[in-house]
């Protein structure tokens, strides 16, 4: 590599990869917020659990870790549904402070439980495709990144079809737009809460699997920073807006990586919040706002 366009392209690919993880996390958060109006600070812990579920099944079965999406997503949906039923439903509507403290408490509980189950030593696994590279516009890229980007796109298409074409998806959207109106139309909004929380956790679980196969290390404490980024993304994109979360995720992934390349890695986290501040100043409802949904 001699510099120029190929480097820009390579940094762009790393940014897209980071954006994929952020998008899956942020969409999950947005679904939960859109339907329940609950802010779940422990959402990053679902990412961490997704990583460990993948790791555990990989260690036991030796399966291709991509295939283990079929384990991590359902298990995380189940965990999400359980947490919604046990922790959030009883306090729904009792005030934001309760929701905040429940979710902060969950962070510590889930982290400590993971540390007990899997120990707090860092883990890493290697993808079966790690030695395969492909040429994209003259830049050699590991196949894994292409698979991760395509997998994310497929998950997003699946989610789009679910929300747009199925009765359940339409009921969820109706609950998100007007909870009382949805109730009057006979929609079981509590069921919608449970499903949206489960899908949100499942998407975070998918992000955890993709995190693991990309060769990143993981520990029980890994979820907090990605969760903070996901919050920044949904504010940038607009609270409750799924297209906003997708655009916000890509912007943040690219901006972070180009910031690392140009002004240094120490600025990686700061750039997220710089973008957040700029967006809030010029468009306080976020790029896509509430009205876009």
């Amino acid at each position: 590599m001699t510099g120029g366009l190929d480097i820009v392209l390579q940094v762009g690919i790393w940014g897209l990869y980071a954006g994929c993880i952020y998008i899956l996390l942020a969409i999950g958060l947005n679904l939960i917020f859109g339907v329940m109006k609950v802010v779940n600070f422990a959402h990053g812990e679902f990412l961490m659990l997704g990583a460990y579920v993948t790791f555990t099944f990989y260690a036991i079965s030796g399966f291709n870790p991509y295939v283990l999406l079929v384990a991590s997503v359902p298990i995380l949906i189940l965990i999400g549904v359980t947490i919604e039923r046990l922790c959030f439903r009883p306090i729904l509507g009792t005030g934001k402070l309760n929701e905040i403290f429940i979710s902060i408490g969950l962070i510590y509980l889930i982290q400590n439980a993971a540390a007990v189950i899997w120990t707090d030593e860092y883990r890493i696994i290697h993808s079966p495709f790690e030695s395969i590279t492909i040429s994209v516009f003259g830049v050699n890229l590991p196949l894994d990144y292409l698979i991760i980007i395509i997998t994310t796109i497929l998950i997003l298409i699946g989610l789009y079809l679910f929300l747009r074409k199925t009765r359940l998806g339409k009921a969820m959207r109706a609950t998100s737009q007007n909870r009382k109106g949805a109730m009057l139309m006979g929609i079981n909004v509590e069921k919608m809460d449970m499903i949206s929380f489960g899908i949100g956790a499942g998407l975070a679980g998918a992000a955890g699997t993709l995190w693991v196969v990309s060769g990143q290390v993981f520990t029980p404490y890994m979820g907090s920073i990605p969760a903070v980024k996901a919050f920044a993304i949904i504010i940038i994109g607009g609270l409750g807006s799924i297209p906003g979360a997708i655009v916000g995720g890509i912007i943040l992934g690219l901006a972070e990586n180009f910031a690392i390349f140009t002004i240094g890695g120490a600025w990686k986290d700061a750039i997220s919040f710089l973008i957040l501040i700029v967006v809030l100043i010029f468009k306080p409802t976020g790029l896509f706002g509430e009205s876009a949904e």
Partner: protein, 439 residues
Amino acid sequence: MKRVFVILAVLFIGLVLFAGCTENQAAVGSPQKLKIGVVASMTGPASTTGKDVWQSAVLAADEINAAGGVYVKELGKNVTIELVQGDDESTREGGQKAVSKLITQDNVDLLVGGFSSAVVSAHESTVADYSVPYIVSGASSPIITHRTDVKTDTVFHHAPTTDDSGGQTTLFIDDTIRPAINAKFGFPSDRPLRLSVIYQDSPYGKGQLDAIKKTIAASNLNINVISEDAFKMGESDFRTVLTSVKNADPDVVYVAAFLNEQTALVTQARRDVGLDKIFIAVECNDDPDYYSGIGRYGEYSIIQSRFSPYAVPSGPIEQSVNKFMSDFDKKWGGFPGMMGAATYEAVYIGANAVEDAGSLNKTRVNEAIGGTTMPQMVEAMKNETISFTPDFRESKFDLYMEQLIWNETAKETRPVIVWPAKLKETDFVIPDWFKPGQE
């Protein structure tokens, strides 16, 4: 008669009570034990290292107690060591709470341990307030004994500072890697080595970078630092930083990172970015988890070390290192790690100082630690002796450099010592896939 009986009874009861009181006071006033507080990260992200620190301290205390304890001349008898655990929770605040409790409630006679420079710096003022001798066996920033905003005259640094480790590694690069590259590729012998530094954005990482630059300047080494890239502590995605380094095109990449960061960084460098360079890892990475985590990607990289799971320097400490590792494995299972090794020694240093002082008085123990002259134990020391410098109370280690070579039996790399000459097992090798940097 009755009155006399009453008086005698009162006197008797009074005497019994008085005797009881004095006996009790004697128990409080004459300590039967040497209480050592072990500051370790038992919970939180650094808990793996914290457990090594605690378990190694326990091993040392058990050995000393089994040999009869520590003779305290002032008491005229041997006392046993009692360890008290202070969990710093891997945080500054946790460290402040733990050290405060160890000093004010547990009344420890001295402290050992202390994992990170940031955590130790945060509780040093408490240590200074009570003038408790503290042998720091984990943190590596020189700041902990060089700072002037807090009194540090009771703090002793028994771990290589970033100045020491960065300095010795830079000398190795100039002394061994640069000539090897120039010879292999037919470059002029005065061609400067192109060095990239990737460092954790922390006192530790910045300390390593400073040490590299200071050593190059002080020794007038033929090394050009062509890029410097920082990353946030705990980072796991290094691809863009590595792309930037690839663009700079160095010969050697010096990485100042912790184990979880180093494994991901080298894997991504070799696998994702195709950075076919010699990587250098700092000493805290010489751990079994590094070898299993990094796999083939670590092949031919360099790791600085002072206590390795797989390479024991032959010579005077070989036997004691093997015994320590074997005893640790028997008692706890696994490898104690270099911070465990330093803490093991720190407990012995403390016990030795109490014997030398002949007292548990903190001022006298402090003076005795300052005057320590002990034979090296399980880590190679300068002049084969554990002692502390008079200016900043630092002990000086003999670091060595290992190169990682693939081992077909273990299905992992294994280290061989390539520097310094007195410890060297084999020559440094430049792999066939290595590509030297270009202007």
